[in-house]
Amino acid sequence: MKHDKEIYIPGRGIHFLSSVSRWLVSASAIPRRDPFAFAGLLLYLIFILIALFADSLVTHNPREILFDNNYDLARNLPPGGDHILGTTYSGRDIYSQLVWGSRGALLVGVTAAVWVVTIGTVVGLIAGFFGGLTDTLLMRLADIALGVPFLPFVIVLAAFLNPSQWNVVFGIALLLWPQSARVIRAQVMSLRERAFIEAARATGAGPWRILFVHIAPNILSLSFLYASIAVGWAILTEASISFLGFGPSDSVTWGYMLQDAYASQALGRGQYYWFVPPGLCIIVVVVAGFFISRGYEEILFPKLKD
């Protein structure tokens, strides 16, 4: 499946860090070559910046119920004036909610991605490298995780535990690691036989050192690929859970906004400025993830190149 072009053969005394830095250099070559990956990374960067500077970008407190000059509720105001995107049915500023939602989205997305990738990578490394009983046990665990329907499971978690964004992360961490684990495992198994490993063994490097210093950097691209997909998946799941009414009611996320719009009959009122932007934001962030993963897919599976 993977081609040899990008494998590094560490010489004597090369540390993990320099392997990674070399990887980073080659990794950044991708965006330069593939416009999609570049676009994806750029979009991610924009969202991260928005999330970091959300405090200064919002015009109002996203959770505050607002009143107009007559002490009437500032509800369903169309875009314009004080409110760039108008207000919701309960009198909150839509634009501020949208900006604030980027924080929630990225928080959930990044945390989930980190967990999935960490678990998946570690399991894949260990299962692929050590083989035998460990491998069998871990793969059985993977099969069980794959046998649990994803969305129903998260729904049950969200319903029984207190509604919180972490339920989604928890569900994702528990159930989505097998895909990356399997692929990484296959990769590790093929790498295991490579000559340079034998060479390292000949110099007396122990199994753990071989695993983490020599093999790991070569599969990090795979981890990154699955991470970028996991971010999107987490954001979509959080939106679905909020939409079904199982999300927390005190934090503003894009999924919460969509649920609020749905419950307040935004479409029946023609409030497209409320309903469309959060959906678009979700699409953009998730597509950015796809673009990035596609870009890396190109180098990992270069058969697709002409």
């Binding site: 069998t136 059985r140 649990v148 969305l151 729904i155 535990l161 979509l236 679905s240 058969k303 697709l304």
Partner: protein, 324 residues
């Protein structure tokens, strides 16, 4: 044959494991299981009697054993809310989910395969450059969002399709078959199926496309070209057939995944399916029903995984799944 048996026993193992996890998850979750069942005027003795009746006074181990033995006999317990056997409640709505899933997948796959093959053929052109991001966008949009927009436009605004449910109120049918093939049912099925199909077609499209690209580069295609066969013949006879195999197995996997994931679409369109049943059961703390619905969805998922595995193996003996 040995392989088949091996995978089959594996499937049973996974089913057992998930059922066990489910059991302990529901039993150890916070909240009173009987809250929905006991109402405000039940006396203390009646409550105790109910607890005994549902076996909640037994030890967890005993309850688990009872659960397993009942499960193997096809008894999923009794719903707290509807006071009917869970199996009955689930089977009332399960066919609707299956029909929705199958219809959407068939539409999605037919469309995806054809367009995927076309895009592979037009590699490097602007069609591909536009098409791919468009397809990725459909995979990135929340299904319920898509559904709401379609509902608002095609149902509320244009009035072409009904707003929800599976049949017009009060309609009668002579048989189940007549019901699901009636125009009424199909018009109710149309919007939810289209919504799902839009979401689901991305995978077969991209898969078909990448497989086609692989196959198109292979030696024997070049040979066929050299032989002078028409491009169309090449595409259909050689490339497509070989590229279809992974797509076929992903179809099986798609069924498994979609039945559980349909819950948001079922909610938007008020489609009476098993996903909606699960959500309602969970909201009402009707945990035998929630458990039963969950198990049903799991069973479909695991069985479809098994079918996908086995059929991949059968259809392409060149590729064997790694033995462990």
């Amino acid at each position: 044959m040995a392989y088949f048996l091996k995978r089959f026993s594996h499937m049973l193992f996974v089913l057992w494991a998930v059922a066990t996890i489910l059991f302990f998850m529901f039993r150890t979750m916070p909240g009173t299981p009987l809250a929905a069942f006991i109402d405000n005027t039940t006396t203390a003795e009646q409550q105790d009697a109910l607890i005994r009746q549902f076996g909640l006074d037994k030890s967890l181990g005993e309850q688990y054993w009872l659960f397993l033995t009942n499960l193997m006999q096809g008894d999923l317990g009794q719903s707290f809310f509807f006071k009917k056997p869970v199996v009955e409640v689930v089977m009332e709505v399960f066919p609707n989910s299956v029909i929705l899933t199958l219809t959407s997948l068939i539409v999605a796959y037919l469309f995806g395969i054809m367009v995927g093959a076309y895009l592979a053929w037009r590699r490097g052109s602007w069609v591909e450059g536009l098409g791919i991001p468009l397809v990725l966008t459909t995979r990135a949009a929340p299904e319920f969002w898509l559904g709401m927009v379609l509902l608002a436009f095609f149902s509320f605004h244009l009035g072409w399709f009904p707003s929800g449910g599976a049949n017009t109120s009060g309609s009668d049918w002579t048989s189940s078959w007549q019901r699901v093939t009636s125009l009424d049912y199909l018009s109710h099925l149309a919007l939810p199926a289209i919504t799902l199909a839009i979401y689901l077609h991305g995978l077969p499209l991209l898969l078909m496309r990448s497989n086609m690209l692989n196959v198109l580069q292979e030696e024997f295609i070049t040979m066929a070209r050299m032989k002078g066969l028409s491009t169309w013949t090449i595409v259909i006879r050689h490339a497509a057939r070989n590229a279809l195999l992974p797509v076929a197995t992903s179809f099986a996997l798609g069924i498994g995944g979609a039945v559980g994931g349909n819950v948001v679409v079922e909610t938007v369109f008020s489609w009476p399916g098993i996903g909606r049943l699960l959500v309602n059961a969970v909201s009402a703390s009707d945990y035998p029903l929630a458990q039963g619905a969950f198990l049903m969805i799991t069973a479909v998922l695991v069985v479809m995984n098994f079918i996908a595995d086995v059929s991949y193996n059968l259809l392409d003996p060149r590729v064997r799944v790694e033995t462990r």
